[in-house]
Symmetry: none
Subunit: 136 residues, 2 copies
DNA sequence: ATCAATTTAGTACTTTAGTATGAGCTTCAA
DNA sequence: TTGAAGCTCATACTAAAGTACTAAATTGAT
Protein backbone atom coordinates (compact mmCIF):
# COMPACT_ATOMS: atom_id res chain seq x y z
CA UNK A 1 0.00 0.00 0.00
CA UNK A 2 2.70 2.45 0.96
CA UNK A 3 4.59 1.54 -2.18
CA UNK A 4 1.55 2.16 -4.33
CA UNK A 5 1.14 5.64 -2.88
CA UNK A 6 4.82 6.35 -3.43
CA UNK A 7 4.74 5.19 -7.03
CA UNK A 8 1.68 7.26 -7.84
CA UNK A 9 3.13 10.32 -6.16
CA UNK A 10 6.25 10.02 -8.26
CA UNK A 11 4.10 9.53 -11.33
CA UNK A 12 2.14 12.70 -10.75
CA UNK A 13 5.36 14.57 -10.08
CA UNK A 14 6.86 13.29 -13.33
CA UNK A 15 3.73 14.34 -15.19
CA UNK A 16 3.87 17.85 -13.81
CA UNK A 17 7.54 18.20 -14.62
CA UNK A 18 6.90 17.04 -18.15
CA UNK A 19 4.18 19.65 -18.54
CA UNK A 20 6.50 22.40 -17.47
CA UNK A 21 9.27 21.11 -19.68
CA UNK A 22 7.06 20.80 -22.73
CA UNK A 23 5.55 24.22 -22.22
CA UNK A 24 9.01 25.75 -21.97
CA UNK A 25 10.39 24.01 -25.03
CA UNK A 26 7.32 24.76 -27.12
CA UNK A 27 7.46 28.41 -26.22
CA UNK A 28 11.17 28.72 -26.78
CA UNK A 29 10.87 26.63 -29.91
CA UNK A 30 13.91 24.53 -29.13
CA UNK A 31 12.33 21.24 -29.93
CA UNK A 32 9.87 19.87 -32.35
CA UNK A 33 6.53 18.92 -30.87
CA UNK A 34 6.88 15.40 -32.28
CA UNK A 35 9.97 14.76 -30.20
CA UNK A 36 8.28 15.79 -27.00
CA UNK A 37 5.36 13.54 -27.81
CA UNK A 38 7.65 10.65 -28.51
CA UNK A 39 9.59 11.17 -25.28
CA UNK A 40 6.41 11.27 -23.26
CA UNK A 41 5.05 8.22 -25.02
CA UNK A 42 8.18 6.17 -24.48
CA UNK A 43 8.59 7.33 -20.91
CA UNK A 44 5.06 6.42 -19.93
CA UNK A 45 5.26 3.18 -21.83
CA UNK A 46 8.23 2.32 -19.64
CA UNK A 47 6.48 3.49 -16.51
CA UNK A 48 3.46 1.37 -17.41
CA UNK A 49 5.61 -1.71 -17.82
CA UNK A 50 7.46 -0.94 -14.61
CA UNK A 51 4.29 -0.49 -12.56
CA UNK A 52 2.86 -3.65 -13.96
CA UNK A 53 5.95 -5.64 -13.08
CA UNK A 54 5.98 -4.32 -9.56
CA UNK A 55 2.33 -4.99 -8.93
CA UNK A 56 2.39 -8.39 -10.53
CA UNK A 57 2.14 -11.07 -7.94
CA UNK A 58 4.05 -14.30 -8.13
CA UNK A 59 1.55 -16.59 -9.79
CA UNK A 60 2.84 -19.65 -7.87
CA UNK A 61 -0.31 -21.05 -6.46
CA UNK A 62 -3.08 -19.87 -8.69
CA UNK A 63 -3.68 -23.34 -10.02
CA UNK A 64 -3.49 -25.17 -6.74
CA UNK A 65 -5.62 -22.91 -4.66
CA UNK A 66 -7.15 -24.66 -1.73
CA UNK A 67 -10.58 -25.89 -2.60
CA UNK A 68 -12.59 -25.01 0.47
CA UNK A 69 -15.78 -25.92 -1.29
CA UNK A 70 -14.57 -29.50 -1.48
CA UNK A 71 -13.97 -29.46 2.26
CA UNK A 72 -17.61 -28.69 2.80
CA UNK A 73 -18.73 -31.29 0.31
CA UNK A 74 -16.79 -33.90 2.23
CA UNK A 75 -18.54 -32.82 5.42
CA UNK A 76 -15.30 -32.05 7.19
CA UNK A 77 -15.87 -29.90 10.25
CA UNK A 78 -13.69 -26.91 11.00
CA UNK A 79 -11.76 -28.76 13.66
CA UNK A 80 -11.33 -31.89 11.58
CA UNK A 81 -9.93 -29.84 8.75
CA UNK A 82 -7.58 -28.12 11.15
CA UNK A 83 -6.34 -31.48 12.40
CA UNK A 84 -5.97 -32.74 8.84
CA UNK A 85 -3.60 -29.91 8.03
CA UNK A 86 -1.46 -30.75 11.04
CA UNK A 87 -1.43 -34.41 10.07
CA UNK A 88 -0.21 -33.42 6.62
CA UNK A 89 2.58 -31.47 8.27
CA UNK A 90 3.83 -34.75 9.65
CA UNK A 91 2.89 -34.27 13.29
CA UNK A 92 1.96 -37.12 15.63
CA UNK A 93 -1.38 -37.17 17.43
CA UNK A 94 0.37 -36.17 20.64
CA UNK A 95 2.07 -33.22 18.97
CA UNK A 96 -1.16 -32.04 17.39
CA UNK A 97 -2.88 -32.33 20.76
CA UNK A 98 -0.26 -30.09 22.36
CA UNK A 99 -0.39 -27.61 19.51
CA UNK A 100 -4.17 -27.29 19.70
CA UNK A 101 -4.38 -27.52 23.50
CA UNK A 102 -6.58 -30.59 23.64
CA UNK A 103 -6.04 -34.21 24.65
CA UNK A 104 -4.65 -36.91 22.44
CA UNK A 105 -8.00 -38.72 22.67
CA UNK A 106 -9.66 -35.79 21.04
CA UNK A 107 -7.19 -35.80 18.18
CA UNK A 108 -7.69 -39.52 17.73
CA UNK A 109 -11.42 -38.98 17.48
CA UNK A 110 -10.94 -36.22 14.94
CA UNK A 111 -8.49 -38.24 12.89
CA UNK A 112 -10.74 -41.26 12.95
CA UNK A 113 -13.70 -39.23 11.72
CA UNK A 114 -11.63 -37.49 9.12
CA UNK A 115 -10.36 -40.79 7.74
CA UNK A 116 -13.94 -41.97 7.33
CA UNK A 117 -14.96 -38.80 5.52
CA UNK A 118 -11.93 -38.90 3.25
CA UNK A 119 -12.39 -42.62 2.70
CA UNK A 120 -8.82 -43.29 3.78
CA UNK A 121 -7.43 -46.24 5.67
CA UNK A 122 -4.42 -44.44 7.07
CA UNK A 123 -3.30 -40.89 7.72
CA UNK A 124 -0.70 -41.17 4.98
CA UNK A 125 -3.44 -42.05 2.54
CA UNK A 126 -5.52 -39.17 3.85
CA UNK A 127 -2.62 -36.85 3.01
CA UNK A 128 -2.42 -38.21 -0.53
CA UNK A 129 -6.17 -37.93 -1.07
CA UNK A 130 -6.25 -34.41 0.35
CA UNK A 131 -3.48 -33.31 -1.97
CA UNK A 132 -5.35 -34.74 -4.93
CA UNK A 133 -8.47 -32.87 -3.92
CA UNK A 134 -6.49 -29.64 -3.37
CA UNK A 135 -7.82 -29.21 0.13
CA UNK A 136 -4.41 -28.88 1.77
CA UNK B 1 5.96 -13.90 -32.08
CA UNK B 2 3.19 -13.02 -34.49
CA UNK B 3 1.36 -11.32 -31.68
CA UNK B 4 4.40 -9.25 -30.80
CA UNK B 5 4.71 -8.00 -34.38
CA UNK B 6 1.02 -7.17 -34.43
CA UNK B 7 1.18 -5.31 -31.13
CA UNK B 8 4.18 -3.26 -32.20
CA UNK B 9 2.63 -2.46 -35.55
CA UNK B 10 -0.46 -1.17 -33.81
CA UNK B 11 1.74 0.77 -31.43
CA UNK B 12 3.58 2.53 -34.20
CA UNK B 13 0.32 3.24 -35.94
CA UNK B 14 -1.11 4.73 -32.76
CA UNK B 15 1.97 6.86 -32.34
CA UNK B 16 1.73 8.22 -35.87
CA UNK B 17 -1.96 8.96 -35.45
CA UNK B 18 -1.26 10.80 -32.26
CA UNK B 19 1.38 12.91 -33.93
CA UNK B 20 -0.99 13.90 -36.67
CA UNK B 21 -3.75 14.59 -34.20
CA UNK B 22 -1.56 16.67 -31.96
CA UNK B 23 -0.13 18.66 -34.86
CA UNK B 24 -3.62 19.39 -36.11
CA UNK B 25 -4.97 20.43 -32.74
CA UNK B 26 -1.95 22.54 -31.90
CA UNK B 27 -2.17 24.35 -35.20
CA UNK B 28 -5.91 24.83 -35.01
CA UNK B 29 -5.57 25.76 -31.34
CA UNK B 30 -8.52 23.63 -30.28
CA UNK B 31 -6.83 22.06 -27.33
CA UNK B 32 -4.34 23.03 -24.75
CA UNK B 33 -0.95 21.35 -25.07
CA UNK B 34 -1.23 20.00 -21.51
CA UNK B 35 -4.30 17.96 -22.38
CA UNK B 36 -2.59 16.35 -25.30
CA UNK B 37 0.38 15.48 -23.15
CA UNK B 38 -1.86 14.00 -20.51
CA UNK B 39 -3.76 11.93 -23.05
CA UNK B 40 -0.55 10.60 -24.52
CA UNK B 41 0.86 9.84 -21.10
CA UNK B 42 -2.22 7.97 -19.93
CA UNK B 43 -2.61 6.14 -23.23
CA UNK B 44 0.96 4.89 -23.25
CA UNK B 45 0.84 4.04 -19.60
CA UNK B 46 -2.09 1.79 -20.40
CA UNK B 47 -0.34 0.36 -23.45
CA UNK B 48 2.73 -0.38 -21.35
CA UNK B 49 0.70 -2.26 -18.79
CA UNK B 50 -1.15 -4.11 -21.52
CA UNK B 51 2.01 -5.20 -23.32
CA UNK B 52 3.57 -6.34 -20.11
CA UNK B 53 0.55 -8.43 -19.20
CA UNK B 54 0.49 -10.08 -22.60
CA UNK B 55 4.17 -10.90 -22.70
CA UNK B 56 4.28 -12.26 -19.19
CA UNK B 57 4.88 -15.98 -19.29
CA UNK B 58 3.31 -18.54 -17.04
CA UNK B 59 6.06 -19.81 -14.76
CA UNK B 60 4.23 -23.15 -14.41
CA UNK B 61 6.40 -26.00 -13.25
CA UNK B 62 10.02 -25.02 -13.21
CA UNK B 63 10.29 -25.57 -9.49
CA UNK B 64 8.83 -29.01 -9.00
CA UNK B 65 11.09 -31.26 -10.98
CA UNK B 66 12.24 -34.24 -9.01
CA UNK B 67 15.66 -33.60 -7.59
CA UNK B 68 17.46 -36.92 -7.97
CA UNK B 69 20.74 -35.35 -7.02
CA UNK B 70 19.31 -34.67 -3.59
CA UNK B 71 18.40 -38.33 -3.26
CA UNK B 72 22.04 -39.24 -3.68
CA UNK B 73 23.17 -36.55 -1.29
CA UNK B 74 20.92 -38.01 1.35
CA UNK B 75 22.46 -41.43 0.79
CA UNK B 76 19.13 -43.03 -0.04
CA UNK B 77 19.59 -46.37 -1.78
CA UNK B 78 17.57 -47.31 -4.84
CA UNK B 79 15.30 -49.58 -2.86
CA UNK B 80 14.82 -47.11 -0.04
CA UNK B 81 13.84 -44.43 -2.51
CA UNK B 82 11.41 -46.84 -4.11
CA UNK B 83 9.83 -47.58 -0.74
CA UNK B 84 9.68 -43.88 0.07
CA UNK B 85 7.60 -43.23 -3.01
CA UNK B 86 5.16 -45.96 -2.01
CA UNK B 87 4.94 -44.57 1.50
CA UNK B 88 4.10 -41.17 0.04
CA UNK B 89 1.32 -42.83 -1.94
CA UNK B 90 -0.27 -43.72 1.37
CA UNK B 91 0.38 -47.46 1.37
CA UNK B 92 0.92 -49.51 4.52
CA UNK B 93 4.08 -51.55 5.05
CA UNK B 94 2.14 -54.71 4.27
CA UNK B 95 0.80 -53.26 1.03
CA UNK B 96 4.23 -52.09 -0.06
CA UNK B 97 5.63 -55.53 0.74
CA UNK B 98 3.06 -57.17 -1.53
CA UNK B 99 3.60 -54.64 -4.27
CA UNK B 100 7.36 -55.15 -4.27
CA UNK B 101 7.23 -58.91 -3.61
CA UNK B 102 9.17 -58.86 -0.37
CA UNK B 103 8.29 -59.40 3.28
CA UNK B 104 6.91 -56.78 5.60
CA UNK B 105 10.10 -57.04 7.68
CA UNK B 106 12.11 -55.89 4.72
CA UNK B 107 9.89 -52.88 4.23
CA UNK B 108 10.15 -52.05 7.90
CA UNK B 109 13.92 -52.14 7.64
CA UNK B 110 13.86 -49.89 4.59
CA UNK B 111 11.44 -47.45 6.18
CA UNK B 112 13.46 -47.34 9.36
CA UNK B 113 16.66 -46.58 7.46
CA UNK B 114 14.94 -44.05 5.29
CA UNK B 115 13.56 -42.19 8.29
CA UNK B 116 17.07 -41.93 9.69
CA UNK B 117 18.46 -40.57 6.46
CA UNK B 118 15.64 -38.09 6.06
CA UNK B 119 15.88 -37.16 9.72
CA UNK B 120 12.19 -37.86 10.21
CA UNK B 121 10.41 -39.29 13.22
CA UNK B 122 7.44 -40.66 11.34
CA UNK B 123 6.53 -41.62 7.81
CA UNK B 124 4.17 -38.68 7.57
CA UNK B 125 7.02 -36.37 8.41
CA UNK B 126 9.18 -38.14 5.86
CA UNK B 127 6.55 -37.35 3.24
CA UNK B 128 6.54 -33.70 4.19
CA UNK B 129 10.34 -33.48 4.16
CA UNK B 130 10.56 -35.28 0.83
CA UNK B 131 8.08 -32.90 -0.73
CA UNK B 132 10.07 -29.95 0.51
CA UNK B 133 13.23 -31.41 -0.98
CA UNK B 134 11.43 -32.14 -4.26
CA UNK B 135 12.47 -35.76 -4.23
CA UNK B 136 8.96 -37.17 -4.66
C1' DA C 1 -36.06 -22.85 24.19
C1' DT C 2 -34.81 -26.82 21.83
C1' DC C 3 -32.66 -29.80 18.60
C1' DA C 4 -28.70 -31.13 15.77
C1' DA C 5 -24.04 -30.84 15.03
C1' DT C 6 -19.61 -30.08 16.92
C1' DT C 7 -16.01 -30.49 20.14
C1' DT C 8 -14.21 -32.53 23.79
C1' DA C 9 -12.59 -36.68 26.39
C1' DG C 10 -12.55 -41.06 28.28
C1' DT C 11 -11.83 -46.53 28.33
C1' DA C 12 -10.54 -50.58 26.16
C1' DC C 13 -8.97 -52.76 22.51
C1' DT C 14 -6.65 -54.16 17.85
C1' DT C 15 -3.63 -52.99 14.31
C1' DT C 16 0.15 -50.77 12.29
C1' DA C 17 4.51 -48.50 12.68
C1' DG C 18 9.01 -48.18 14.19
C1' DT C 19 13.53 -49.84 16.74
C1' DA C 20 17.24 -52.91 17.75
C1' DT C 21 19.83 -56.57 16.54
C1' DG C 22 21.61 -60.44 14.10
C1' DA C 23 22.36 -62.81 9.97
C1' DG C 24 22.49 -64.82 5.19
C1' DC C 25 22.96 -63.53 0.35
C1' DT C 26 24.47 -60.82 -3.72
C1' DT C 27 27.05 -57.41 -6.20
C1' DC C 28 30.80 -54.77 -7.42
C1' DA C 29 35.03 -52.44 -7.00
C1' DA C 30 39.85 -52.42 -5.13
C1' DT D 1 39.41 -62.46 -3.28
C1' DT D 2 38.18 -59.75 0.15
C1' DG D 3 35.42 -56.31 1.94
C1' DA D 4 31.94 -52.79 1.83
C1' DA D 5 27.34 -51.84 0.64
C1' DG D 6 22.85 -53.14 -0.42
C1' DC D 7 18.86 -56.22 -0.01
C1' DT D 8 16.66 -59.61 2.26
C1' DC D 9 14.34 -61.63 6.47
C1' DA D 10 13.54 -62.89 11.25
C1' DT D 11 12.56 -62.17 16.31
C1' DA D 12 11.26 -59.41 19.98
C1' DC D 13 10.18 -55.47 21.49
C1' DT D 14 7.97 -50.51 22.30
C1' DA D 15 5.37 -46.82 20.51
C1' DA D 16 1.98 -44.86 17.82
C1' DA D 17 -2.16 -45.14 15.25
C1' DG D 18 -6.68 -46.36 14.67
C1' DT D 19 -11.52 -48.40 16.12
C1' DA D 20 -15.57 -48.65 18.82
C1' DC D 21 -17.97 -47.28 21.86
C1' DT D 22 -20.07 -43.72 25.53
C1' DA D 23 -20.91 -39.26 27.12
C1' DA D 24 -20.71 -34.39 28.63
C1' DA D 25 -20.39 -29.52 27.32
C1' DT D 26 -20.79 -26.06 23.67
C1' DT D 27 -22.51 -23.86 19.75
C1' DG D 28 -25.73 -22.31 16.36
C1' DA D 29 -29.87 -22.12 13.97
C1' DT D 30 -35.02 -22.54 13.93
Amino acid sequence: MKKTVLVFSLLILALLLLFQFSKYTVISGDLNIEYIMAIIAIAFLGIGIFINKKTQKQPETYNDQINLQKVEELGLSKREYEVLKEVALGLSNQEIAEKLFVSESTIKTHVSNLLLKLNAKRRTQAIQISKDLNII
